[in-house]
Symmetry: C2
């Protein structure tokens, strides 16, 4: 365990119900979160990290006994992009997930059983509201930044719109301001795969067999959309798996088939099928403008922005980041935009650490200097 900084996940329960975007009232909500680094005296150095779809609160450092660190450890730590020698970094698991924060797998105090599909349908805005209450609880009035990729980026830009006075900057990576028809369509196929599995049983599978086949199919599809055709070609091409020749049968001839199978199966072990449904639905509902002009939506925004996209990301293509940048510029917001050259597709935000780190660490220094007045 040399040089491994150990971190523990913390939790807090908010007994007062939240009013969700749907209008429903829901509570209590337990939130699990982790923090890295130290909050300074005037509480001006806090950065909220927002995780993606299947992520969790464990963004950096190590859990006791673990071999692998948190999911963005390459970006968070002493001397790293989110420098824990300078910043107080925190990350909370989102509402609706299955990684500690209240979600469909949690016990409904009213029935003593898991919520399942009686859990309310939630939105990106609801996730942000829960995070806001966590900050209130921690006594943090304003964030130096909030930052995330993919669904995390959707939360970051939502923070800027929903709580404009509570953030100095938003770092929005590989994200969008609304889900397109194609993005909804891919999620719909995944959900239908889960729901087609008889073991899903209308969401009532806790304590019984989970809908493993359906969830695996959904994840296999997701995985294709997270990579680029180029990264798949480089990683697998047409290489055969454990074979000298094509089998001319329905076994898995190609490495890419076995890889997808592995990714599908391992996902079933670490993620809840109902959370899959709720979180994809939250993303599909994501649409900041809802019929208005996007520049209208950003009218009251008061933070600076850094948008990052990746050349080969076809799931959340650069054009979507650029749309946000244009609408922010139309409001004279201070916006930086970087398109990073990468073959890794949407996954690039979890892979391309060097370029992202340089861009983000410089950006945070600028924000701290210009908005908080520190160097």
């Amino acid at each position: 365990m040399n040089n491994k900084t150990i971190v523990q996940t913390q939790q807090v329960t908010f007994p007062e119900p939240f009013t969700l975007k749907s209008g429903a009232s829901f509570g209590p909500v337990t939130v699990v979160y982790e923090t890295y680094g130290h909050l300074n005296h005037d509480k001006s150095n806090a950065i909220l990290i927002l995780h993606a779809f299947t992520g969790d609160a464990h963004a950096a450092f190590y859990h006791e006994g673990d071999r692998d660190p948190g999911w963005w450890d390459a970006m968070i730590g002493p001397g790293k992009a989110f420098d824990t020698d300078k910043y107080f970094v925190l990350c909370a698991n989102v509402l609706g997930s299955c990684k500690g924060t209240t979600g469909p797998i949690s016990t409904d105090p009213g029935t003593g059983k898991p919520y399942g599909l009686s859990f309310p349908v939630i939105t990106i805005e609801d996730m942000v509201d829960v995070q806001k209450r966590l900050l209130d609880h921690l006594g943090i009035k304003k964030l130096l930044s909030c930052a995330g990729g993919s669904m995390g980026g959707m939360q970051a830009v939502t923070w800027a719109v929903r709580y404009p006075e509570m953030i100095h900057s938003a770092i929005v990576i590989a994200a969008c301001h609304r889900h397109t028809a194609q993005q909804i369509a891919f999620h719909e196929v995944g959900r239908q795969a889960v729901m087609a599995d008889p073991d899903w049983n209308g969401g009532n599978y806790y304590g019984a067999a989970v809908p493993a086949s359906g969830l695996a199919v959904a994840r296999m599809l997701g995985h294709i959309t997270y990579m680029s055709w180029m990264s798949m070609e480089q990683k697998f091409g047409r290489r055969l798996k454990d074979k000298q020749a094509l089998g001319y049968d329905f076994s898995k001839d190609f490495e890419v088939q076995s890889y997808l199978e592995y990714r599908g199966k391992s996902f079933v072990d670490r993620f809840d099928a109902n959370s899959y449904l709720y979180l994809t639905k939250a993303m599909d509902y994501f649409d900041l403008a809802q019929g208005r002009k996007l520049s209208e939506v950003f009218k009251d925004v008061n933070s600076d922005f850094l948008a990052i996209s990746f050349t080969s990301d076809w799931l959340y293509p650069s054009s979507q980041s650029q749309e946000m940048v244009r609408a922010l510029k139309a409001n004279d917001a201070d916006v930086s935009y970087v398109e990073i050259q990468s073959d890794y597709g949407h996954d690039a935000f979890l892979v391309e650490f060097e370029d992202q780190s340089r861009v983000i660490s410089n950006y945070l220094v600028k924000v701290q200097k210009e908005r908080v007045g520190k160097v």
Copy 2:
């Protein structure tokens, strides 16, 4: 039925077994096919149309009583791209399909029951060999052209490599010379969706419930890959279905969800799940070069080529057509290449008739003039 030219599907059975690419021997094979126009005296005006994945032999004209014509009727007929006043056009259903030619749904004469998974795994080359025997049967020694999009294009380029002396030209549309890892991956997800359906039952579902849910999921996914994000955005965007507001539930809020559901369900009514497995597998096995340089593969090619791709086709992108064109040019083959501007994605070959027609009709005149000596 004014102005509707009626056509009937014909069929022929070849009792002698075929030696498949796998090495297996298989027969008898029944082939269904249609013909349009008239074979000229020296049999020099025949064009073979090669259908895509879920297509059939009914490429043009009308079946008695039908409201809709064949799948490429806009391209085939008097005065059209494949001008039946000039050419004798024929189209045969591929081996392994469920549209009349022998496939897994056909009765195994050895058992009196449908083949199901005892049907041999077949390849694009096997499909072409069956078509070749059909031409032998019809007494056609050389084709003016063979033409097809998608899986049809794979067959067209295979014709050029496998029977170089039997074709004057190949028209290869929205196709490739080999399936990439991403193309294999999308198919693998579809197959896993089918196989995950308990009703699939190892392929033995004939006479019982078909694997409707699994096949529908597979088709929904396929459909996304056939469209472009732009065509989905134009057709659906975030428009709601039969609703004034988001439902905040798991019903289908968005039009795109209902559309995919409809496409999935209607596919189940018209296609066999086992054929889905066999034909996707045939495409995944498709790799003309198999480790050699592609220019080596085209060394003995003796036909002219027209390659067509579409700007927004991300499933079989223009780069794959261009790869073929480069390798053919390296052999000094007579190759024309046209990239057609279209938002319709891979489906463009079934939609963009105006540009395709102009390009193809001019091309066929050129081939007939230069290769057959007629104007």
